[in-house]
Amino acid sequence: MAIYDVITGNDAAAWGARLSKVEVIAAYPITPQTTIVEKLAEWVEKGELNAKFIAVESEHSAMAAVIGASAAGVRAFTATSSQGLLYMIEMVSWAVGARTPVVMAIVNRALGPPWNIWSEHTDALMTRDTGWIQFWAANNQEVMDSIIQAYRVAEDKKVLLPAMVMLGGFVLSHTAMPVKIHDQNKVDQYLSPYEPPHYVLNPKISEAFAYGNILFPWDYAKVRLSIEKAMRNAVDVIKRAAKEFHEIFGIWHGDLIKEVNTDDAEIVIFALGAVAEQAEATLEVLRRNGIKVGVAKIRVFRPFPKEEIAKIADKASHVIVIDRDISFGWDGILAGEVKATLHEYKVDTPVTTKIMGIGGDDILPEHIEKAVKEVIKK
């Protein structure tokens, strides 16, 4: 039976992994991810979760170990933040070429130096080229649910790619709020045990083969482009996963995007994760002031929902993108991709980048209101 509880985003992430019956967990502590791992370690040690917990000596090894485990046919999980994500990035990219459908929670945190442990999205966005599916959760319920959905998507035979689920450091990770913890039977119904593809790294059940030896350019190019195909396939798989999730659990977080009041909106705000929900919360005040604003909460950043974004923007007269990140010498990262998409789809709605909340600088409703009002003035 489902339980309602008030839990942090990190506990929700741990629950997501637990309900998904992960079999191997390898992780390395880093603020603000730590409590995810601590929770899982506790469950494993107490026998509440039948999994192996590998207390590796670095994030590079954490990702390496889950790749190994996944290749050997089990469902594997890890989590990290910031420096930890950068430290493992070689293996993050590796997991894609290895086609190991592991799931990783990223608790977004700013990068050093100077040291800063607070929320910023640049960490996860820096991995956007690697071929990982990216879910951005806007609240703790979504954190838990997205991890369960992420396994569905990642392990789908049409996809077979790893997936990340992002939650804002502290903003979600250490903020407790009501969450419905699903019934295990229902989750089992939604998510079947991991069935590896036609090869498994286990000489007891598979013939000898080698994976990963050198490919000449002509073969390599084909193999890499097949990853792009899998990414394209993921679009439908994600939609179906969200739909069935809704059917079984009655919860709808959106599929690629969750639109809020976009239908009649003159101004649409695009944002990721809890920042998007903060914008959503701000809507009420703005609407009360007679300003027609909507929010498009980008839930899936990879594959990037171009078509959906173009449609939403097309209806509006102005788009504001809030980026809790920055690509130096360029733009906000989400803003850049929204602009590119609109050019591609020949949508000429102007786009304003608002970079906010860097290094955990608090994003207040006033900041969002101000951004909207500035656009109106123009």
């Binding site: 309602y4 509880d5 008030v6 942090t8 603020t31 603000p32 040291w115 442990i117 607070w118 609240n139 804002g168 502290f170 903003v171 979600l172 250490h174 903020t175 407790a176 709020m177 009501p178 809890a274 920042v275 929900e277 903060q278 959503e280 919360a281 608090d362 994003i363 207040l364 409703p365």
Partner: protein, 188 residues
């Protein structure tokens, strides 16, 4: 209903846990409650900030509380040290852990509503110390219930026992109950 609470403690005193306990207890009564924490680079002893937002419907805000309706203060000095008054609404309630005669405190008694409890003594009495530091958080949650009239002390006790099954839970529940009973509402 929309109430914003601010908790003021020190690393080791359990302010974060207190705000989470409160949220959990409120949820038992059908309320929607958020418990937020500002992590400084806390070593033990450094000031710690925690917050709650309480409502009867889901809350989508994700920022800190800047003007609280209620502030729970674990130690008087913290109010001065952290410029605590600036983060209070004009008619806010201060719930404070204080041992002596409150009128002798530095509290701005005229401006705010005040409730007080001698949580440290309760807790020392119960032997609730971790590494030498009296852990007054559950007591302060009890005081909150009394001062604000919600949630019920039963919900708090349930939440405490869920969080720490066994001996520790019982001690903490006891601390909450005693604080609930001993809290004085000085000014309403």
């Amino acid at each position: 209903m929309f109430i914003e609470v601010s908790w003021l403690g020190r690393g080791g005193q359990g302010a974060v846990t207190a705000s989470r306990l409160l949220a959990r207890a409120l949820a038992k009564e059908g309320m929607w409650a958020q418990a937020i924490v500002f992590f400084g680079a806390e070593r033990r002893g450094a000031p710690v900030f925690a917050y709650n937002r309480i409502s009867d419907k889901p809350i989508k805000y994700h920022h800190f509380v800047y003007k609280a309706d209620v502030m729970v203060v674990f130690e008087q000095t913290l109010l001065d040290l952290t410029d605590g008054y600036k983060r209070l609404k004009d008619d806010a309630m201060i719930i404070i852990n204080y041992a002596g005669d409150i009128t002798k405190s530095r509290l701005r008694m005229n401006t705010y509503k005040i409730a007080k409890v001698d949580a440290t003594s309760i807790v020392l009495d119960l032997g609730l110390l971790v590494a030498g530091i009296p852990v007054i958080n559950t007591a302060m949650v009890g005081a909150f219930a009394r001062a604000m009239g919600m949630p019920s002390i039963d919900s708090i006790v349930t939440a405490i026992l869920e969080t720490w099954p066994g001996k520790i839970g019982e001690l903490n529940a006891e601390a909450a109950k005693r604080a609930y009973n001993e809290t004085e509402i000085i000014k309403k």
